[in-house]
Symmetry: C2
């Protein structure tokens, strides 16, 4: 397995794959890999001749008061996991190469980005769509793999790819969870014992939403208030948002129908966690 | 020569070229082809195995009060010229396919776009960069050819390609002119006899700028005021802007050095014309 830092070298590597008419799968990550990422890598490994995992903590998608500095980084550990998973190359570019002095160009999916995580993290998705466009252009993968945990991100990237006619297939894989239900996330390492316990509130409240839906409850506000009621009981948890929305447009819905997305963001201690399920 | 309207068919055509390891040159145009375009096509023909000319009057780069409706269109004539010039395919997509209902994604080079033509045509360059990204993604050309007449456009596209790591080489070719010096433009067909005469003011004022520069004048304001003095004498001309700027950053300069760009936009009758030269 290679670890490639240089952008031109990375393009060259993937161009060679293209020239040999082989397929390339890309798993874009911010590192601190966990079983969720490994699920994506496994899928990519199965479906492609070559697999590249990009590891880049993208400064452009972090707000000035967010956890860019504290975001967990562990290249050695990530490399080990990638090698074991049969990855062909890790792409680990430098921020100064990705955004050299005088950088000016951004890609934005308008309208989608100013609700939910976009609302509490202004500019976040513009950073995501920009870096994903760059990675797609550098690597020109046939398929790229994302996790459903970041539901809004996945939807926005799919929309961008369709709108801009980007020749990459985007696959979104189900959220992987710890045994007790907590969605896997690189940020989970920040949780202390009490917070780890309280963090279960996200999944518990989503399960509660599913139960209510199965019982015939269709009123979003009812579902949201029951979910919030569960979470506020957790000592270290502070709700950012709980929302029931159309799974395609991400517009909030009043009446729950099939294929609604229930999403939430909760700050547990200092760590902001997200999770979601699709109903019906 | 093929004329292709369907986006998937166009991608398929260019994918086949790639698979055969042949090179593809793209000349993106809005149609109403003139000798300036043909110069770009000739260059593309010389340098590539295959040449595609795209013809698309991009609605997104026109303001609500601009000449989208009146922009000259003449596909039959354009096809004839392309065929004669040895073009392999004309790509002539439908606006409803390029921007289907619910279209949301835009590419923007920030900062560059709010001066000069960007200032008098807000949103114009965002439309240009978005459609060029789409064309590059659909066609994946090795090289794309643009004219120096649209100096700001050429610079912004080069910046976008560099920033987003787009794997396309951008070549900017010198402005072609009528015998009397008027820069070739599809919009020239709108000029009546008097306006055609007055339109010469653009080139005359640029020649004057060059003469002053050769005589040692380095004060931008001096040059600009002499240029403006010449243009205001033309009966049907109304100045939009005259500017001396750094040819890389497009920032206005007070003292003229080598490689400064002198650019202007003038409304002649109802037709807005642009032109520019590089000094030194």
């Amino acid at each position: 397995m290679k670890t490639i830092r240089n952008l031109k070298q990375m393009s060259g590597f993937s161009r060679q794959i293209k020239h040999r008419a082989k397929s390339l799968g890309l798993v874009p990550t911010m590192g601190a890999l966990h079983a969720g990422h490994l699920g994506l890598i496994r899928k990519a490994r199965k479906e492609n001749d070559f697999v590249v995992v990009s590891i880049f903590v993208n400064p452009v998608q972090f707000g000035p008061k967010e956890d860019l500095k504290n975001y967990p980084r562990n290249l050695k550990h990530d490399e080990k996991l990638c090698k074991k998973a049969g990855v062909d190359a890790v792409f680990y570019p430098d921020a100064a190469d990705m955004y050299p002095m005088g950088y000016k160009t951004y890609v934005e999916v308008e309208g989608f980005s100013d609700c939910l995580c976009g609302k509490s993290r202004p500019g976040h998705f513009k950073g995501v769509t920009t870096v994903v466009t760059k990675l797609f252009n550098i690597l020109q993968p046939d398929t790229a793999y994302f996790g459903q945990k970041d539901a809004q991100q996945a939807l926005i990237i799919k929309k961008m790819v369709a709108d801009l006619n980007i020749p990459v297939k985007v696959k979104v894989m189900p959220t992987l969870r710890e045994k007790d239900g907590l969605a896997m996330s690189s940020r989970n390492v920040h949780l202390n014992k009490q917070e780890r316990k309280d963090a279960l509130g996200l999944h518990q409240s989503l399960k509660l939403a599913r139960t209510l839906f199965k019982k015939g409850v269709r009123d979003s506000n009812k579902v949201i208030s029951v979910m919030k009621g569960l979470i506020v009981k957790k000592q270290t948890a502070k709700i950012d948002y709980v929302c029931v929305m159309d799974s395609q447009t991400l517009k909030p819905v009043k009446k729950i129908k099939n294929k609604c997305l229930v999403g939430l963001a909760v700050r547990v201690g200092k760590t902001r966690l997200i999770d979601n399920i699709i109903l019906g």
